[in-house]
C-alpha cells in the first residue's frame, strides 16, 4: 500500500530540465594545456588547445606550432613534438618519471610567449591491491518489473603509513576509459592513513563478460585539489549542494604576462593497474 501511494506521488515531483538559449558573454579564447607525466615507461603526451565561446558549435582548436619541453629538477629535458593525427604533443623518446623528482612543463607559443607549470613532484607508486567484481540487483531501467545484475569494481588498497597520499582512480571497460566528468574519482587518505582503504565503485557498471581494468594513480596534493575543484565545477553546479561557479585555477601561468590566464594542468602520476574479467 505504501509503495502504491508513493507511486501516485511520483508524477507530482518530477523536476524538469530543458535546454535553453541564453545570451552568453564573449569568449576569452584562453590557452588550455593538459599534460600528465607518468612513471610508466611510455611516450608521454601533452595537449594544447584554445577555449572557444561556450555556444560555439565548431570544434575546439588545437595549437600545433608550440615548442614543448618537460624539465626535471635534476636538469633533464624531455622535448615533445606535435602529432597531427590526434592533436597531441608526444615526447620524442619513451620516458618514465622518477618518484620523488620534480617536473615542470614549459611551452612557447606564438614564438615568444612562454607558458610554464609549477613544479610537481612525482609521487611514489602505491600498489592497487586485489580487484574483485562485486554485484547488486537493480531494477532494469527498460523494464521496471525485471531486475538485472550490475557488476562493479571492489578494491581494497593498503595505504602507506608515512605520508599524506592522494589518489585518482581511472576505470576502463574493455579498454575504453570512463570519461564522464561525474566519474572523476579522487581520494585522499585523511580517514584511512596507513590502513586498508576499501572501495566499492558502484557508479562504474559492468556486465558479465566485460574486461574490468582499474588504475590507481598516485597524485600530488595540488593535483588532487585541482581535480577536486574541476569536478565540483562540472558536476554539482546547478544543484542546491553546488558551489558558486568559479575559475578553475590550475598550476599553469604565463611568464610574460601574469594577468593572462592559462587553463588546465600539468601533473605527475604514478600508476598501479589491475585487470580482471567479469563473470
Amino acid at each position: 500500500m505504501k509503495k502504491r501511494l508513493l507511486y501516485i506521488l511520483i508524477p507530482l515531483f518530477i523536476a524538469c530540465e530543458k535546454v535553453i538559449e541564453v545570451d552568453l558573454p564573449p569568449s576569452q579564447n584562453l590557452v588550455v594545456i593538459e599534460g600528465w607525466l607518468s612513471d610508466v615507461s611510455s611516450s608521454q603526451r601533452v595537449r594544447i588547445t584554445r577555449s572557444n565561446a561556450f555556444s560555439d558549435r565548431t570544434p575546439i582548436t588545437t595549437i600545433n606550432s608550440a615548442e614543448v619541453i618537460v624539465q626535471s629538477r635534476n636538469g633533464d629535458i624531455l622535448p615533445y613534438s606535435y602529432n597531427s593525427d590526434d592533436g597531441y604533443y608526444y615526447s620524442d623518446s619513451t620516458f618514465s618519471g622518477q618518484s620523488g623528482l620534480e617536473y615542470r612543463l614549459r611551452v612557447i607559443i606564438d614564438d615568444s610567449v612562454e607558458l610554464r607549470s609549477d613544479w610537481d613532484e612525482m609521487p611514489a607508486r602505491v600498489d592497487i591491491g586485489d580487484l574483485e567484481a562485486d554485484s547488486f540487483q537493480d531494477n532494469d531501467p527498460d523494464n521496471s518489473n525485471r531486475e538485472i545484475t550490475i557488476f562493479y569494481p571492489k578494491i581494497t588498497t593498503l595505504d602507506p603509513s608515512e605520508s599524506d597520499n592522494y589518489y585518482r582512480w581511472i576505470f576502463l571497460k574493455n579498454n575504453t576509459i570512463f570519461t564522464e566528468p561525474e566519474l572523476i574519482t579522487i581520494q585522499n587518505d585523511r580517514l584511512f592513513n596507513g590502513n586498508f582503504i576499501p572501495n566499492n565503485f558502484r557508479n562504474f557498471n559492468y556486465s558479465s563478460g566485460d574486461e574490468m581494468t582499474v588504475q590507481l594513480a598516485s597524485i600530488s596534493r595540488s593535483t588532487h585539489d585541482y581535480l577536486s575543484l574541476l569536478k565540483s565545477q562540472i558536476t554539482t553546479l546547478g544543484t542546491s549542494s553546488g558551489t558558486t561557479p568559479a575559475i578553475v585555477n590550475g598550476n599553469l601561468f604565463n611568464v610574460n604576462d601574469s594577468g593572462q590566464l592559462v587553463l588546465g594542468y600539468f601533473g605527475t602520476i604514478a600508476i598501479s593497474e589491475n585487470t580482471i574479467n567479469v563473470r
Binding site: 577555449s51 561556450f54 547488486f136 531494477n139 553546479l237 544543484t239 558558486t244 575559475i247 587553463l263 588546465g264
Partner: protein
C-alpha cells in the same frame, strides 16, 4: 502607618456621630473626644461627608482617606490631617484567552479618553503607572472581543482579564473598535508578526502544510534562495545570521525537507516575531535578524486534542490542564508519512535518496502565584536521509528550556530562563569493510536574566545579562565495528563562552517615543586546542605555517569584546501616521561554514577566533507607517542600509571537510545590503491579506579575486513582490491565494568552454554576471469546515474538523531553479545551457484537520 502613633487604642473608640455633616465638624468632634488632632482650615476644603453608623475613629479616618478627601499622618502624640496629594499607582496584570487560559501576547491596554496605554509583553503581562483616579481601561487584541473595565485607582492594582475570541459570522457587521495600531505606536521599525490563531497564520503552503516560515517568506525583506534551498536571508544577510529562538533556546537548523517546511509544527506554535531592523539590546549574537518562535502554553481550562493528516505529514496535539486554571500541558508530535525525495524521485533505482522527519514538542506551565509563573518547554526533532543502500544520515535539533516569570513588584518584571540546546548530525555507513560512524554537533547551555522596570507609563528601563556556553564537535569519525578499516579521525572540539550585558530604556515625550540601549557582548574561547601561526604578510596556507601553539584545558585561547549600541525613535505625527528611524549594531561570533549555494545539514558551525573575527553589522532603517480606515489597512514603507564587516567568504574549491585549519580556506570580507520595502495589509473584513514589495541589493567583496569591487550575492533579488489573500466565501468555505514574483537570482554564465580529460568544461570568468529568468507562481487553497450539526437531529457537534485543498503552482510555470551546463548528448563537442526547475508542474494536495 500607625507604627509611630502612641495611642493606637484611641483609634478603636467608636464615633459619637453619624449621618451627613461637614469635614470640619467631624474632625472637631474627634478632637472633642480627647484625641490630639491637628488640621489647618485654610488648606482643607470643608466638604460634606457621609458617615456610617458604628464606625471607629480609625475606620472613619481611613474611609475619608480612601475617598481621597484627606491624607492622614500619625505622629507619636498626634494625628495630622492634611489635604490629599494625588499620587501615581500601577495597574498591572495579565491578559488571557478565556477559553484556553493562555496568555495573550501584544494585547492593547488603553485608558479610555487618554493617550496612555501599553501592550502586553511577550508573556501576556502588562503594567501601567498613572496618577490615581477613576479610569476606564480597554483591553483589546485582534481576533478577540474587546473588554472594558472600570478601575478606581488609589493603590497598586492587579487586574487580570480574560478575552474571548471573536466569532465573526458572515453577515455580521464587524465593529471596528479595536485600536490595533501597534504598528504605529511601537517604537521600533521592521517587525513582522505571525500568529497561528489569526487568519493569516493559517494559510497553507506547499502540499497543504501550514508553516510559519513559509508565511514569513511572503513578507518584505525575508527570502529564501529558491524552492529546494533551506535557509532564509533577511535583508540581504546570510543564512547563519538569523537568531532563531524556540521559546528561549537557540535553534541551529530550522528546516525539514530541503527547507520546504520548517521544524515549527503549526499545531504547537503560538506566534512568531521577526525583528529585521532594530534589534533590542537583550538579543544578540547574530547579524541580521531575530526570529522568535513561541510555543503555545497549553489550555489551562479544558482538555483538547487536535491534529491533521496531509500528503506530507501527520500531526497531533494534546493539551489540557494539569490543575485547572493553574497549570497546563501541551504535547505535540508530527512525522512525515512517506519516504520522500525531490532530487531523484523520477528514478526507481534502489539507490534512490529517501528522506523523513519527525518532531516532538512539549510545554508545561505552572502558575504558582499572581507574581510567579514557571514554564518548561522542549523540542525534539529528527531528520533522516537514506542515501543508496548503506548510508544513513540523521540530523536534528533538540532543546529544553525552563523559564520563570517573576514580579518582584508591580513595576519590576523579570524573566529568568535557562536552556540547553543542541544540533546533531550523524552519518552511518554500514558497508564493510569501510563502515564508519561520523558525527558533528553543537551544543549550547545558556541562561538569561532580564528585568523590566516601569518607572512611569512613559519611562521603562530594562537590563540583564545572558551567557551561553557553546561546545562544538566539528567532526569526528570512527570505525563502526571491529571489522572496519577506517581510522579514528577527530577534529578538535571548540569551547566558547558568549556573554552579554545589556541595558535599555524606553520612553515617551509628547508624540515622540524612543528606545535605546547598549549591549556589551564578548566571546572567550578556551582550550584544549591548537592554533597555527602563519608567516606574516602571506596568505594563510599549510605551507606558511611557522608554529603551532597548544593550549591546555581552560586556557584562554582568544577573547573578543564588542559594544553594540542600538537606538530607535518613533515620531507619531497623528493618529494615523508615524515615522520611525533606528540604528542597530550587532556582533556575531558563530559562523556556519558552508560554501554551497544552499546550506546542507552537514555544514558545521565555527566560533570566531584568531583568524575568524566576529562579523559585525551596522544597520540603519527609516520608515513611514500609516493606517487607514480605522486601522483596517496598515501601510508601511521602509528603507534600510546594512554595512557588514568580516563577512565570511570562501576560496574557490575550499576544502571544508575534516579540515583542521579551516582558516586557510576562508576570508573575511566586506558586504553591504540596502533596499526599500513596501507593505500593505488589510486586517479585517471578509477579504484579508497583504501585499509586499521589496527593492533591494545585496553584495560583497571577494578578497580572493584581488578585486575591490562589490559583487552580487548569490541570493540577491532586485524586485520581490508577494501577496496573499484569504476570503470567507460562505460560513463553511474559505479560500486563500498567494502570488509571488521576483527577479531571478544571480547566475554565473560561462564565457568559454574547453576540453580537459575528454570532458567539456565550462569556463566562468566573471562571477554572477547574469540572472535567472524571473520567478513567479500562484497558489490556491480552499478550506472547507465540517458541518456544525449532526446529520440527524439538531445536536451541535462537539468536534470540529476541516479539509484543506491546495494547488501549488497553479499555472504550472517551470520556474528556473538554476542553470547547468553540459555537453550535448546528441551533438558531442557542443555545449548546452540547461534550465533546471524543481517543480515543473502543478502540485495539488489535500489535508484533513480535526479538533475535539
Amino acid at each position: 502607618m500607625y507604627q509611630s502613633y502612641a495611642q493606637k487604642s484611641s483609634l478603636e473608640v467608636p464615633l459619637n456621630f453619624w449621618g451627613k455633616l461637614t469635614l470640619f465638624q467631624s474632625l472637631d468632634s474627634i478632637r472633642a473626644s480627647g484625641i490630639k488632632l491637628a488640621y489647618s482650615s485654610n488648606k482643607l476644603t470643608n466638604q460634606e461627608v457621609e458617615v456610617e453608623k458604628n464606625l471607629t475613629i480609625g475606620d472613619f479616618l481611613n474611609t475619608i482617606k480612601e475617598k481621597r478627601i484627606i491624607d492622614v499622618i500619625y505622629e507619636e502624640n498626634q494625628i495630622i490631617v492634611i489635604p490629599h496629594v494625588p499620587r501615581d499607582f500601577t495597574i498591572h496584570g495579565v491578559v488571557k484567552d478565556v477559553e484556553t487560559g493562555e496568555h495573550i501576547i501584544g494585547a492593547a491596554v488603553e485608558i479610555s479618553g487618554t493617550q496612555l496605554g501599553t501592550t502586553t509583553n511577550g508573556y501576556g503581562y502588562y503594567s501601567l503607572t498613572v496618577r490615581e483616579g477613576d479610569y476606564r481601561l480597554k483591553f483589546s487584541h485582534i481576533g478577540y472581543q474587546s473588554h472594558e473595565s472600570e478601575v478606581t485607582l488609589y493603590k497598586n492594582t492587579y487586574i487580570y482579564i480574560s478575552l474571548s475570541q471573536q466569532i465573526t459570522e458572515l453577515d455580521e457587521v464587524e465593529v471596528l473598535s479595536i485600536a490595533d495600531d501597534i504598528n504605529l505606536s511601537e517604537t521600533i521599525p521592521s517587525i513582522n508578526r505571525i500568529s497561528t490563531s489569526g487568519a493569516d497564520g493559517q494559510i497553507p503552503y506547499f502540499l497543504g502544510e501550514v508553516d510559519v516560515i513559509q508565511n514569513a517568506l511572503l513578507k518584505p525583506g525575508i527570502r529564501a534562495i529558491g524552492e529546494d534551498a533551506s535557509g532564509i536571508h533577511v535583508r540581504g544577510g546570510g543564512v547563519d545570521q538569523n537568531l532563531t529562538l524556540l521559546d528561549e533556546a537557540i535553534i541551529y537548523n530550522p528546516n525539514h525537507f530541503y527547507g520546504l517546511i520548517s521544524i515549527f509544527n503549526p499545531e504547537a506554535v503560538n506566534d512568531v516575531r521577526i525583528m529585521k531592523g532594530y534589534i533590542p539590546p537583550s538579543y544578540g549574537g547574530r547579524s541580521s535578524s531575530v526570529i522568535e518562535v513561541r510555543q503555545k502554553e497549553g489550555n489551562a481550562n479544558k482538555q483538547s486534542v487536535s491534529g491533521g493528516i496531509g500528503v506530507l505529514s501527520a500531526r497531533a496535539l494534546a493539551e489540557g490542564p494539569i490543575q485547572k486554571g493553574k497549570s497546563s500541558f501541551l504535547l505535540s508530535g508530527r512525522r512525515s508519512l512517506l519516504n520522500l525525495s525531490i532530487d531523484d524521485f523520477a528514478s526507481n533505482s534502489v539507490q534512490r535518496n529517501r528522506i523523513r522527519f519527525q518532531d516532538l514538542n512539549l510545554k508545561l506551565n505552572f502558575k504558582y502565584s499572581k507574581s510567579s509563573t514557571y514554564y518548561l518547554s522542549g523540542y525534539l526533532g529528527d531528520d533522516q536521509n537514506i542515501v543508496g543502500l548503506s548510508s544513513t544520515r540523521n540530523w536534528g535539533n533538540r532543546m529544553l528550556n525552563f523559564r520563570w516569570n517573576y514580579l518582584f513588584s508591580p513595576r519590576l518584571f523579570s524573566v529568568i530562563s535557562a536552556f540547553y540546546s543542541e544540533y546533531n548530525y550523524t552519518i552511518e555507513n554500514t558497508e564493510e569493510p569501510g563502515a564508519f560512524l561520523g558525527r558533528s554537533k553543537i551544543s549550547d547551555a545558556g541562561a538569561k536574566i532580564n528585568f523590566t522596570s516601569d518607572l512611569s507609563p512613559t519611562n521603562e528601563i530594562s537590563y540583564g545579562f545572558s551567557m551561553v556556553y557553546h561546545r562544538l564537535i566539528p567532526g569526528e569519525q570512527q570505525p563502526l565495528d571491529r571489522n572496519s578499516t577506517t581510522n579514528n579521525v577527530k577534529l578538535e572540539n571548540e569551547r566558547g563562552l558568549e556573554s552579554a550585558l545589556f541595558l535599555g530604556q524606553k520612553g515617551t515625550l509628547n508624540n515622540l517615543s524612543f528606545e535605546y540601549g547598549l549591549r556589551i557582548s564578548s566571546l572567550l574561547t578556551f582550550g584544549p586546542g591548537t592554533v597555527f601561526q602563519y608567516k606574516d604578510d602571506t596568505p594563510l596556507a599549510d605551507s606558511t605555517i611557522i608554529d603551532t601553539l597548544r593550549f591546555n584545558r581552560f586556557d584562554l585561547i582568544d577573547s573578543d569584546i564588542n559594544f553594540e549600541p542600538r537606538a530607535s525613535i518613533n515620531w507619531r505625527i497623528n493618529g494615523k501616521t508615524s515615522i520611525k528611524a533606528s540604528f542597530t549594531r550587532t556582533a556575531q561570533y558563530l559562523h556556519l561554514i558552508s560554501n554551497t549555494i544552499s546550506p546542507a545539514p552537514t555544514d558545521i558551525w565555527k566560533l570566531s577566533g584568531r583568524f575568524i573575527p566576529p562579523t559585525t553589522t551596522n544597520q540603519y532603517t527609516l520608515g513611514l507607517y500609516k493606517n487607514l480606515y480605522s486601522n483596517t489597512w496598515e501601510l508601511s514603507s521602509e528603507v534600510y542600509y546594512k554595512d557588514i564587516q568580516n563577512n565570511i567568504q570562501y576560496r574557490n574549491g575550499a576544502d571544508l571537510i575534516f579540515n583542521d585549519n579551516i582558516e586557510t580556506e576562508i576570508f573575511s570580507g566586506q558586504a553591504r545590503a540596502y533596499g526599500l520595502e513596501i507593505y500593505a495589509k488589510k486586517k479585517r473584513g471578509k477579504l484579508q491579506g497583504w501585499i509586499s514589495y521589496t527593492l533591494s541589493r545585496a553584495e560583497s567583496k571577494i578578497p580572493d579575486d584581488g578585486d575591490s569591487r562589490f559583487i552580487l550575492e548569490d541570493h540577491d533579488k532586485t524586485h520581490d513582490f508577494s501577496t496573499s489573500w484569504s476570503m470567507k466565501v460562505s460560513p463553511r468555505l474559505s479560500a486563500s491565494t498567494n502570488f509571488v514574483f521576483n527577479t531571478g537570482i544571480p547566475v554565473t554564465l560561462p564565457t568559454d568552454k574547453y576540453v580537459f580529460g575528454n570532458s567539456l568544461i565550462p569556463h566562468f570568468q566573471f562571477r554572477n554576471n547574469s540572472r535567472l529568468p524571473n520567478y513567479h507562481r500562484l497558489d490556491l487553497s480552499l478550506r472547507l469546515e465540517g458541518r456544525d450539526f449532526r446529520k440527524k437531529g439538531k445536536k451541535r457537534r462537539k468536534n470540529k474538523d476541516y479539509w484543506i485543498f491546495t494547488i501549488y503552482n497553479v499555472y504550472a510555470r517551470q520556474n528556473a531553479y538554476s542553470y547547468f551546463y553540459r555537453e550535448s548528448p546528441i551533438d558531442p563537442g557542443t555545449a548546452q545551457v540547461v534550465q533546471y526547475s524543481i517543480f515543473g508542474t502543478i502540485i495539488p494536495a489535500i489535508t484533513y484537520n480535526f479538533k475535539f
